[in-house]
């Protein structure tokens, strides 16, 4: 197993070398290998297809332009994640400036210290085909402020480790943990509110 991973890494290192030298089929291969991952990352952070496509295009323009700056210390996908996440966060911040009149209320992260608790129903996953419930999930993600959203996406949806997410976002591991905790609690509270509203859950 380990051998296979090493082989893949060597293969990629070889492709990177060729791509740097201007080999177009190597460049194509690198883009092909990583484009789905970056597109999904873009969708998850941006929450719409048009912006995800922009993130995708800009990420690979930068990759091809700066491949000679890639040190090889981290893996290529972590490096691409860093580029793509930065582009996405930049876009979200620009958008926020444009829709400045829409106020983003600060989330209340204090639920741990005193909210009433009710056990959630089992098998909530069955509920995900319910349109109203899906909408609630989508709105919760859109409401989650971008710094927290990026951490949640990288850690819980893209399965990066704390260390990898810290490297992608250029923040400390402790900071990743705090943001992840807050993101999870924010989303949890949104769902808790929704489940209460729906009423027929229990």
């Amino acid at each position: 197993m380990k051998k296979t991973v090493n082989n893949l890494m060597n293969q990629e290192a070889e492709l990177i070398k060729l791509a740097r030298a201007g080999d177009r089929s190597a460049q194509t291969e690198l883009v092909k290998t990583h484009s789905a991952r970056i597109y999904n990352l873009g969708l998850r952070i941006m929450r719409n297809e048009e912006d995800a496509e922009d993130v995708l295009q800009e990420t690979f323009i930068i990759m091809l332009g700066k491949l000679d700056q890639f040190s090889g210390k981290s893996s290529l996908y972590t490096w691409l994640y860093r580029i793509a996440t930065n582009i996405a966060l930049q876009k979200l911040r620009e958008k926020k400036k444009l829709d400045a009149e829409i106020s983003v209320h600060e989330p209340n992260f204090e639920a741990l210290r005193g909210s009433q608790l009710k056990e959630w129903p089992d098998h909530l996953e069955d509920k995900v085909n319910d349109e109203q419930f899906r909408h609630c999930l989508a709105v919760a993600m859109e409401d989650l402020p971008e710094n927290y959203r990026a951490v949640f996406v990288l850690r819980d949806l893209e399965n990066l480790s704390t260390k990898e997410a810290a490297s992608v976002l250029s923040i400390s591991e402790a900071n990743v943990k705090v943001r992840l905790m807050r993101a999870r609690l924010f989303l949890r509270d949104k769902l808790a509110n929704h489940l209460k509203c729906v009423g027929d859950m229990r």
Partner: protein
Amino acid sequence: MTHQHDDTMIKKIEDQLGSDFDAEIVAEVAEHMRDCPDCKIYVDSVKQTIKLFRVTETDTSVPEDVSDRLFKMLKLK
């Protein structure tokens, strides 16, 4: 949490809520949750939240037209 927790336990639980529940579960927190239904309910609801998003945010492949525009823009293929 309607009952009282001391700050060090809250800190530990918060820390756990920012980590992997399976791979990085701290023994002390696990033990606390066995004796504290409130914390167990709370942590379980957070786990359920994560699971729900993982179920709905499935991977999609890059649509063909998006891929075409990408390679065209990069002047590849």
